[in-house]
């Protein structure tokens, strides 16, 4: 639409104006971190302003100022459009002297930024985007995929469900890179375990009404309706599935990617019993709770999601690597240093980064509590199983990543 184009243009102009104050690089004393995320649409609460805040907290806790490192932040809204995201990334790298881009939910945008980052030899730390291609066929010596990916979600949740009898599936898939990746990865798990996929329907991103798709899923008689979507799309699907009596009719929903903020938006009454996989939850230990308290206090009470925690962890490790190298000029060298150094931070504990750019840590299978089990606001999950770090992610030789082949 014309207005969208005008708005994009306006955003670009605004960026261009901001470009006047270009800063020097770390060699001149400044490390510039760009948080590129969704600030206005369906992924805002699970990433958005919280991600910027988490990145700031990471720099603060690292004690960058005391160590004589000057860290600056910029942030932008990619509006879930790959072209807008690409324009911002180029602008940041070419003109604004940004050294590293972090977060970036929406796999379509992330894949575009992944490519640009490689061309410019900068650093891209992905927490928000899900597609497992980022450490697979699109892997790059300049990108680290931090928090989770579609393979993890598919295997964590898919395995658990197929093994408890959910052996016929129907997919509701968001029609873009992320949805396709999640659907494909889950389908592989289902068929590998002897299950069947009876059908799938692909809906446009940001759909309000799912009743038509749900009716098709209902008619398929599949035992499990797999939601290969995220954010507002997932909450709307779950809410309307309850309305249309899907679960009462004997079918079950599998939310393949569900965030804490989605559960909060649905309310426990609607969300109870959902099973899904995440890599971080605020109420698991004292460090996490302390982080959640700081985040909530500064972010309208919103408790941090695993994406926020991932941003914190990634920025912490990045700053360590830059400190060790005493330079942030060569993005490839910084990422290499990050891979060579074991990770250790308060939120994810000890971990490592593989050659394909995959950060490794344990994952958890959660179930949403019943309203009676929840003792406080944001007390939503109970732990069903822990997936050890070495099993949580796709084996390094199965991803077709050119960096590890041969």
């Amino acid at each position: 639409m014309k207005f969208t184009r005008t708005m994009t243009l306006a955003a670009t102009v605004a960026l261009a104006i901001g470009a006047g104050q270009a800063q020097a690089q770390y060699s001149d004393g400044t490390i510039k971190i760009g948080v590129l995320t969704d600030m206005s649409s369906l992924y805002t609460d699970l990433s958005g302003a919280g991600s910027l805040l988490a990145a700031r907290l990471a720099a603060e806790d690292f004690g960058a100022a005391a160590k004589g490192m000057k860290v600056e932040f910029v942030n932008a809204d990619h509006q879930n459009k790959a072209d807008v995201g690409s324009a911002v990334a180029r602008q940041w790298y070419d003109v604004d002297k940004v050294d590293v881009i972090v977060d970036t939910p929406n796999s379509g945008v992330a894949l575009a930024v992944n490519q640009i980052t490689r061309e410019k030899n900068k650093v891209f730390l992905v927490s928000g985007a899900a597609t497992s291609d980022l450490s697979g066929k699109a892997c790059s010596p300049n990108t680290i995929h931090w928090t989770y990916d579609t393979w993890l979600l598919a295997n964590g949740t898919g395995n658990a469900i197929v093994k408890t009898g959910g052996d016929s599936w129907y997919f509701l898939t968001a029609d873009y890179a992320f949805g396709h990746a999640l659907e494909g990865d889950t389908e592989a798990v289902v068929t590998k375990n002897g299950g069947k996929v009876l059908g799938k329907v692909r809906h446009p991103l940001n759909t309000a009404d799912f009743s038509s798709f749900l009716l098709q899923a209902q008619a398929s008689k599949a035992k499990i309706i797999g939601l290969a979507n995220a954010g507002g799309d997932t909450t709307n699907s779950i809410k309307q599935a309850a309305e249309f009596g899907i679960v009462r009719g004997g079918q079950n929903l599998a939310g393949l990617l569900v965030f804490l903020t989605d559960v909060h938006a649905l309310g426990l009454q609607t969300a109870q019993g959902l099973i899904f996989t995440e890599t971080w939850y605020w109420d698991m230990n004292d460090n996490n709770r302390a982080f959640a308290k700081r985040m909530a206090a500064a972010n309208k009470g919103i408790h941090p999601t695993m994406i926020h925690a991932g941003v914190y962890s990634a920025v912490t490790h990045y700053l360590k690597a830059v400190e060790a190298l005493k330079s942030d000029a060569d993005g490839g060298a910084v990422v290499k240093k990050m891979k060579d150094t074991p990770t250790n931070d308060p939120l994810f504990g000890q971990g490592s980064i593989r050659q394909d750019g995959r950060k490794i840590h344990p994952a958890y299978l959660f179930e949403v509590k019943k309203p009676a089990e929840s003792k406080a606001p944001w007390d939503y999950y109970k732990l069903r199983a822990t997936i050890p770090a070495e099993q949580a992610f796709r084996p390094v030789n199965e991803g077709n990543c050119p960096l590890v082949r041969g």
Partner: protein
Amino acid sequence: MFDFLGIPPQALFGQLLLGLINGSFYAMLSLGLAVIFGLLNIINFTHGAQYMMGAFGAYFLLQYLGLSYWWALVISPLVVGLTGVIVERLMLKHLYKLDHLYGLLLTFGLALITEGLFRNEFGSSGQPYRIPEQLLGGNNLGFMFLPNYRAWVVVASLTVCLATWYVIERTKLGSYLRAATENPTLVQAFGINVPRMITLTYGFGVALAGFAGVLAAPIYQVAPQMGSNLIIVVFAVVVIGGMGSIMGSILTGFGLGVIEGLTKVFYPEASNTVIFVIMALVLLVKPAGLFGRTT
């Protein structure tokens, strides 16, 4: 039994019915736009935000005052309508003599500001709102499970749409309104307070959006961007039906809901573009829209 392009007839009936339900939102919103455009010559881009305010109104009433859905159905549209009256009195009335574009820019700006404020305050993932107890559950119609609430949405929307059409096209009050659009000076000479009538009309059109918002609250998430997702489609509906035609926008609203519903079965990927394809085709053949009059 016969199959239609591989879709069993049961499924097809179900999809047609769902299309009608979605169409009722299109119809109510495009009706409000048509009323406002017909009498004020303003393209009300704030309509989506006002629809969102209606839904949030219901949420506030329940959350802070404990008032049920049924109260919200009355109070929320009234309050949203009142904000419309204030906007008309303070801003819009200065723009009637200018080009359409100014009204469009003003209302578009207001929509962005309103949505931004709500997003800043309540985040993007939305607030939960439960279906009222009296309308929980549903009926098995043989070809589909129809939730009671969805049936209620169609009935409520049809009633409101037809009542509005009747008032504007068939009553004395409506004839004043229509006369005032044709020749305000002359109507004023007969002792009718035209500016007040225009203010109330805008308030009414906005209240319609608020009403649709309350109806939508239990189905969709009550979220700041719920209106902007819908409004572009609704504008396409108005363009297809013909700007300013009351019955046209009602019929087109329901009709396009059905077409969109069918697209979700045959080619789901295109379900959010099909309406714009139809709009382009209609504009090529009948530039004034299906029910529009060329003047």
